[in-house]
Symmetry: C2
Subunit: 429 residues, 2 copies
């Protein structure tokens, strides 16, 4: 009969394999973050170039495109270096499927660049194309956050994903506000969009704040200089409260763009730190788990003795079964009494391991709840799009209106929509 | 640049690998079910043997132990045949850790058998030992149900796990009721235990009914013969409503035991069918996904042409992004418009795949909700055990009382306990 210890060792090896994959994922996340940042700049410069009827920003835009091509090359090598043997099961299926989608977008990017210059697309249309491409890249990171099984790493990935998403929304706000000021006239639809972007941005940064380490929270606080924030909030107020059609100061377009750009660059600094911390976290967990494995493996040599001792051992039936740990103690598996002592019986090891995995699962559920909110909102949006034939933006706006009118959170509205889905007519196919 | 198609194929291979593992898991579940059934009989015969002061049932018990040893051998070969390479990541860690615990129990079983006969343990103590061993084996099946990522298979595993759990509770009810009748006198604590067992049993069978296929629901309905059910409910009423200390008809001990035994045997029939259907389901999904993979692989040969066509293709930026499907349509991935046509563009394939995986995730969340209820209750129980120094049974009873007094469901009480955990004092270590 194989002993419990053999399966304990197999379990440890699974954890190590997971952590190694996470370490590789963090390199991918890093490369994706840099490409996304580059594409955000390219989007901004494209808008300026298009707004100048192709008379300005040509050189800066071309330089940026070259930078993006280098960054894209780095992302592609990460993709190429990925382990695509079918070892990740359905987690892998979801991640690979997101990557497949992102790759289709990257493949179409050169064609996009040619077309929007040749056909002189307007800024909103160009912005929408870049938004979609970046969303496809961010979805890869979302999937990585959703599949990590180590709760501390998952917390960190959730903070990182939400921060990156918040940064992207800031980029979209920059484009929308810039275009409004440049047009010299307030427009109700763009104002609505702006309000939506500000609200979603704040939600993302709240989630970041909830899950980030105290050091990163402080870094982010420090990055938001009060004098800059005050100036920006003033411009936001002007943009959002002007009557439809009222004049706006065109001069502020550049001021707004520069203020938002310096904010986005500051965010990139925080993002880089998040990515570095992620890698460090993976490596430190890997070290801990590897030393636990070594200890288990050395135990297996002594096992014949242990087995002999156990022949008349009823402790399985006498000790308390591996009861779930109390909540909260799971934050630090090492603190949860997991100091490895070679003289403990295998049963105690088995029970510790079960307790620890259960605690991890519990902590993970908490972290995932924030990801599930996002999924719920996305699903409700998809439902509205299918049943009411709305665009993604219209669906989002409809839900935001419902939430405001009912003084509810967006996720509650989404939940309510999903739970009433059965009474909606089937969408035509 | 690798194409999206390469990652689509990798995603399909992950799905196939998952389904193959599930097919192997279903063989394990089958073997575990037979061993559990054998141990349930051994527990019953042990009680009869102990109750007769070792004067009766010796032969039947020894035969049963021999049967159990054969069944145990089959389970052990399934464990030995398991793929323990660290490919299952944290899912694997949890499953292997449960197996390690179950193996410790099986290793201690011969010692248990010797001791309880030599020391003439009383029936409750012997029952408790078998209950713990069987719980360890059932936990392996719970873990398998919790890690399956295909929603239809997961539904089926949830139905199966709950049915097996319900059968085990029926076995415990048989033992408790039998002992009460045999004692010839009602006893309040045993009556409370009986009520708890009946309630939990009904909850398990409700979940089974919610998730089982219509054919299995009908089979289970047919297995519960009204005349038998009426007789059993009458005996249950007698057992549960007699005043503490009031006399009970000792003659009914055997009648009760036989009625419960025939019920348990009927449940074994349903369970076997559940296990067979599980394997068939895995095989049919495997066939579907494999043929999708073949189609993708044949596409990759034509890809140069497709790539050429795509060179100026902006459909990535023009088609709707892969929006989540509307709820409900995910029950059958094939019905969700997934007929593979070779002439579709890769982008469409990518979008279909993303939609399908998202739908699966959504359906899976629904299925998992029922497993999460169980986990929530287990965690709250663990919390009470740690903070109030209660035994598992006392913790369960406390929660049941709270639920009854507040007219709430057990899971709501568990949730409330967990959410107030922060204000409880830390348990002593």
């Amino acid at each position: 009969m194989p002993s419990g210890l053999h399966f304990l060792i197999a379990a440890k090896r699974c954890e190590i394999s997971e952590l190694q994959q996470l370490a590789r994922t963090s390199a991918l996340v890093n490369a994706l973050g840099r490409l996304i940042h580059g594409l955000q700049r390219e989007r901004g410069l494209t808008n300026l170039h298009l707004a100048s009827q192709g008379t300005q920003w040509e050189g800066a835009l071309n330089d940026q495109i070259q930078d993006c091509e280098v960054l894209q090359g780095e992302v592609i090598s990460c993709f190429e270096g990925m382990d695509v043997t079918p070892t990740r099961l359905t987690q892998g299926a979801r991640l690979f499927s997101r990557i497949a989608y992102a790759l289709q977008g990257l493949a179409a990017l050169p064609a996009l660049r040619r077309r929007l210059r040749a056909e002189k697309w307007d800024a909103p249309r160009a912005t929408a194309a870049y938004v979609r491409l970046i969303a496809g890249l961010l979805a890869v990171i979302f999937e990585a956050a959703d599949t990590a099984a180590d709760p501390r790493i998952s917390r960190h990935l959730v903070a990182l994903f939400n921060f990156m998403q918040g940064k992207e929304l800031t980029g979209q706000e920059r484009a929308t506000g810039s275009a409004l000021f440049a047009a010299g006239q307030a427009e109700a639809a763009a104002q609505q969009r702006l309000l939506g972007l500000i609200e979603s941005q704040e939600r993302c940064l709240q989630v970041f704040d909830e899950f980030a380490s105290p050091a990163l929270q402080q870094a982010w606080q420090a990055a938001q200089r009060p004098e800059h924030m005050a100036a920006m909030e003033r411009m936001r107020r002007v943009l959002c409260t002007a009557q439809d059609g009222a004049p706006l100061d065109r001069q502020l377009s550049q001021t707004w763009f520069d203020a938002k750009t310096s904010m986005i660059d500051a965010m990139k600094g925080i993002e880089d730190r998040l990515a570095r911390d992620l890698l460090a976290l993976c490596e430190s967990r890997l070290e801990t788990v590897s030393s636990e494995l070594t200890a288990y493996e050395s135990l297996i040599n002594q096992e014949p003795d242990l087995a002999l001792e156990a022949a008349d051992d009823l402790s399985f039936f006498e000790q308390a079964p591996p009861a779930p740990d109390s909540p909260g103690s799971a934050l630090n598996p090492n603190a949860a009494g997991f100091g490895l002592q070679l003289d403990r019986s295998i049963l105690t090891l088995v029970q510790d391991q079960a307790r620890r995995l259960q605690s991890m699962g519990q902590e993970l559920d908490t972290v995932r709840a924030s990801l599930n909110e996002r999924k719920t909102i996305e699903r409700a949006k998809g439902l509205l799009m299918a049943h009411r034939h709305l665009s993604e933006e219209e669906a989002h706006k409809t839900m935001r209106h419902m939430a405001m009118n009912q003084s509810k959170r967006l996720v509650d509205i989404a939940q309510a929509l999903l739970s009433t889905a059965d009474v909606l007519p089937e969408p035509p196919r």
